[in-house]
């Protein structure tokens, strides 16, 4: 048997290219083409009175200037609401170039095309736009008040309102022995991949076809969207995601205004056109996430068992809702984590503000939900004087209760049913890893020495591998190369390695013989995209199923050639052999040749496939009715519903009594994402997720002033952590295979980020327990901790 690679920490096959500067990212493509740049609104809410381009016309190298009025037909119309939902009663999206009104700083108004980006920006600088300022709506409170409107035709600024309930939560709370109310807040953040967005388009006037490279997480859907916008037949449009420099959610949105405009301009001008987003553009014109206000009302008994949970979320969806209301839906469903809430009521209001649109960022609403649930667990523990881990364990769903139906509807429209997981085992592992039970002594010892250290814990369950489907194509070439294609894209998850591992094992070939292509509509046209920790689950299983098809066909053809029963055959290192019969072998590459009957021979191998070479049954057609030429197969994986990974994090922090600086002394992660295809890559995903979580907990927030100006639209003031801010991350795994898919895989992409704010809030509170502070808003900075201390001291003084 070929040595299995699934489960092994195989080194990534994409790395040599990326390490030597041979990657091909968007801006590396087509540097001969024209460059686009945009005039963007400096105002959060304004009516466009006039656009004067006169001064720009003199710019050397200017090729074209386009405003909304120049865009014909569907090109200028509003962009689609990608994910409609019955609760999204007032979905609104932007036009590619603003029509009459701008609704956030950074909204595109004019597109300039010039011979290079420098000159395009010269022209942008010379274009004058006159505005009539309108009052901006900034912040959830302002949106909730509804006195001022973002969109005149959206009363109360409410895009969507949704209530889900199981049992009578409010009645259960009213009759509960103990009740707590919490008001919580999570501030805005953003994906901020190191590579911004970008798109390059090339129109072939002879072939009447369009090729678009775009830094996206969903190339097949970009293709469909562009064909619709540009009114081109789908088969005249190719969309390719080249190497993508990180996505983390923001690149799932499509089509971006720039994708439509650059492609259209390439057709109009008959030349290659490229737009590469710069860093400021990314901050003010891509997308943000996270910002929510939450009210939690919980009823529980004297042992800390939840009896009723009533959660209300006010979600800031920014100026537009291109990606629907996925984020608040996930928050209100995934909030439950590993717990049985008793009766549960979740209500959210998704609100417009004059700020950049809000769409999923890694975690996609889960970090906010986890924060609400875990803050609640800590509050209950504090109220009852119980160990925080004990309160959590008492509310866990038991392994014997799997599958567990929450009676709610998840983001995929399917019932929220947990498929598997052993939460007590995960908790035991993380407590052991961090030394939970021994910590009290450490805390007291430190306090005696004038130091403040604290420990925190956070648990989450993550719905992963959301449908509807992904597909896989596997083909054995006549030189033995195994070509694999799947439609979803790659932004650093190592798909060229993990999917090759799956196919190599299923087919019985060497890993090095397998070549994987992702995100290229020329290679595979049916796909959804890479988001929601779904790629390994969906495409991993799809390529496995396709490989099994190919294996069956290979064994059948080889059986005929070797005059053996396919059931007696095995494939080892790319060679089909009769079990236990040395010498009775045929290489897969030869099977590939035999699979394609030829009339013409062009090399030695192909001679064996010509009609006169192979001994053939004269009464049978060369290709049987139920057969087709070629040793290849395509198959799809479509799960009944999501599969649910889980994990628990624990951290030890120290806070400086004088400067309020917060340092993470230890950070431990125990994670269960079912079968691991490549432990090294999974661990890398965890590390990266935790780092983004630490950023979101202690450093990163997007700060708008009352006028809707983003005050920190740069890496100078948006504090993405350096290595100096990220702790060593200690990890351990459980592997509870998913019963829902052939490989038993669960997703791992978002796991690391989900509980970090909850864990660190818990740990900081514990370190500050002598001060009696309560943390209800994250992220928290030293300055904010300083003021929390001051408030706590004052309250003491008052009481």
């Amino acid at each position: 048997m070929t040595t299995r690679t699934v489960g092994e920490p195989i080194a990534r096959r994409e790395d040599p290219r990326l390490l030597t500067g041979q990657g091909r990212f968007l801006d590396d493509i087509g540097s001969a083409g024209l460059a686009a740049a945009f005039v963007r609104s400096p105002h959060a809410h304004a009516r466009i009175v006039d656009i004067d381009v006169t001064d720009a016309l003199a710019v050397d190298g200017l090729v074209a200037i386009y405003t909304h009025d120049d865009l014909p037909g569907r090109v200028g119309e509003t962009l689609p609401v990608l994910i409609p939902h019955e609760a999204l009663t007032h979905g609104r999206t932007a036009c590619p170039l603003a029509k009459n009104e701008v609704n956030h700083v950074g909204e595109a108004i004019v597109m300039v095309v010039a011979t290079d980006r420098y000159l395009a920006e010269d022209a942008c600088e010379r274009i004058r736009v006159d505005y009539e300022l309108l009052p901006p709506v900034v912040g959830i409170e302002a949106a909730r008040d509804g006195d001022l409107l973002v969109h005149d035709d959206v009363p109360g600024n409410v895009s969507a309102h949704l209530v889900q309930e199981t049992g009578d939560a409010r009645a259960a709370i009213d009759t509960a022995p103990r009740v707590l109310d919490l008001d919580l807040e999570i501030e805005r953040s953003a994906s901020t991949p190191l590579e911004g967005r970008g798109v390059h388009a090339r129109w072939d006037g002879d072939d009447h076809s369009l090729r678009v490279y775009t830094s996206t997480q969903a190339s097949t859907s970009v293709r469909a969207a562009l064909a619709a916008k540009l009114e081109l037949p789908l088969d005249r449009v190719e969309v390719i995601a080249p190497d993508v420099g990180g996505g983390f959610g923001v690149k799932i949105v499509h089509p971006w205004p720039e994708e439509v405009l650059v492609a259209w301009a390439a057709i109009m001008l008959g030349q290659e056109v490229k737009w590469t987003e710069d860093r400021r553009e990314h901050f003010v014109s891509a997308a943000h996430e996270r910002g929510q206000l939450q009210h939690v009302r919980v009823g529980y008994d004297d042992d800390g068992h939840l009896l009723g949970l009533d959660v209300t979320i006010w979600h800031d969806n920014g100026a537009y809702t291109p990606y629907g209301i996925i984020v608040p839906i996930i928050t209100t469903t995934q909030l439950l984590g590993p717990y049985k809430p008793g009766a549960y009521r979740a209500e959210f209001h998704s609100l417009y503000t004059n700020t950049v649109a809000v769409t999923p960022y890694r975690g996609a609403g889960r970090p906010q939900g986890c924060f609400a649930m875990e803050r609640t667990m800590d509050a209950i523990a504090a109220d009852l004087g119980l160990d925080r881990a004990v309160v959590r364990e008492r509310n866990f769903i038991g392994p014997d209760e799997m599958p567990y139906d929450h009676g709610l509807t998840f983001q995929d429209g399917r019932p929220l049913i947990y498929d598997s997981g052993d939460y007590p085992a995960t908790l035991a592992k993380v407590k052991k890893l961090i030394g939970w039970d021994a910590f009290e002594a450490i805390r007291d010892e430190a306090r005696a020495a004038g130091r403040r250290v604290g420990i925190g814990l956070g648990c989450y369950v993550e719905g992963t591998g959301v449908g509807p489907y992904e597909g896989g194509f596997v083909k054995v070439e006549t030189d033995g190369t195994v070509v694999v294609a799947t439609g979803l894209t790659t932004q650093g998850q190592g798909h060229q390695t993990v999917f090759a591992q799956v196919v190599a094992d299923e087919l019985g070939v060497a890993l090095d013989d397998v070549v994987v292509t992702t995100g290229d509509t020329r290679r595979f046209g049916y796909a959804v995209g890479t988001f929601a920790s779904r790629a390994a689950v969906m495409s991993g299983n799809a390529v496995a199923l396709a490989a099994r098809k190919v294996r069956q066909k290979a064994l059948r053809i080889a059986g005929e050639a070797l005059e053996a029963d396919p059931r007696d055959l095995e494939i080892v290192d790319g060679v089909v052999q009769v079990k236990g019969v040395p010498g009775a072998t045929i290489p897969l590459r030869t099977v590939a040749v035999l699979s394609n009957p030829l009339r013409y021979a062009f090399d030695a191998e192909s001679q064996r496939a010509t009609q006169f070479a192979a001994p053939a049954d004269p009464d049978r057609p060369p290709v049987a009715d139920d057969d087709e030429p070629g040793l290849e197969g395509t198959d799809y994986y479509s799960p009944p519903r999501s599969t649910f990974a889980n994990g628990m994090h624990a951290a030890i922090v120290e806070t400086d009594p004088e400067t309020a600086e917060i340092s993470i002394l230890r950070y431990c992660v125990v994670h269960d994402c079912g079968t691991l295809i490549n432990p090294r890559i999974v661990q890398g995903q965890i590390h990266g997720g935790v780092a983004q979580g630490v950023g979101g907990a202690l450093y990163e927030k997007l700060v708008y002033d009352d006028a809707g100006q983003l005050l920190n639209a740069s890496f100078m003031d948006f504090l993405m952590p350096y290595a100096s801010e990220i702790p060593v991350i200690e990890t351990d795994h459980l592997q509870t295979p998913s019963p829902l898919n052939p490989l038993g895989i669960k997703g791992a992409g978002e796991a690391g980020v989900i509980p970090v704010s909850a864990v660190l809030a818990s740990a900081i509170e514990d370190a500050e327990s002598s001060q009696g502070i309560r943390i209800s808003r994250m992220p928290i900075s030293p300055s904010e901790l300083y003021h929390l201390r001051a408030e706590a001291t004052n309250e003491e003084g008052d009481s």
């Binding site: 010269d122 400067t659 350096y722 030293p782």
Partner: protein, 300 residues
Amino acid sequence: MKPSGFAYHRPGTVADAVALLGEHGPEAKVLAGGQSLVPLLNMRLAAPAHLVDVNRIDELDVVRVASVDAGQVVRVGAAARHSRVEHDPLVHAALPLLRQALVLVAHPTIRHRGTTVGSLAHADPAGEMPAVLALLGGSVTVRSQHGQREIRAADFVTGPMTTSVRADELVTEASFPVPPGRTGSAWVEVARRAGDYAVCGVGVLIAVDDDDRIRQARAALVSMGPVPVVVDLTDAVGAAPFDQADWAAAARLVTARVEPDDDIHATAAYRRQLAGVLTARAGRGAVDHAATRAEARARR
């Protein structure tokens, strides 16, 4: 984010450089390390018609410890990189405060290119170098077609990113006087991320008598207002033996003196708290430094 066009000049001598500045005046900007200027150009927050690149003027690429009547002075030319000043062993032996502050300036890659005189002239309210110059009572030398003049540190920075250097003048050199006798110094900061501009930064310099009493103590603070704040701590810490100095009193004095502003990273109240805390820490650091230097001298 691409800069506007400009005419590029690369003079080989100071004379040529000041001639260009004289000719183009406010339309010209001097380009040395570019670590502050070029981001502004890329963002098109500045669009000078002329850039005068002084990187290849050899006479400006000097770092040396010179002897003057008053004692010693570290002279740093306008083309000298932070990293050269930071790593020069003679400079470090004479004036450890420079390295103590320089290691907190951004990251090594920035210091490879950025110049010490450049960060003086940039006069960022959070910049360490103007505060170091102020703490030491140093000066800069500026040259124009009309001649040369010295600007004392106290008269140099006039506001945020604003100095008393005229548009036709080139800062050719900065002079950091080496304080005489036994001294100790320390520089401490709180920044959001390592290498970021400080939320608060404090340098303390003490002069110690042979009987281990603090003769003089001064603090310089950054990010505490539009210009570097220098506070004389001598009376506050008292003429006690230096290991018994009252740094709490020094902290109270500084806290009362500073007038910081809010920004998105920290409130004024928090900054004021840091000013006191970090002054005390830097003070104790300076004492330790003085002690270790004494031991080192004893060993020699």
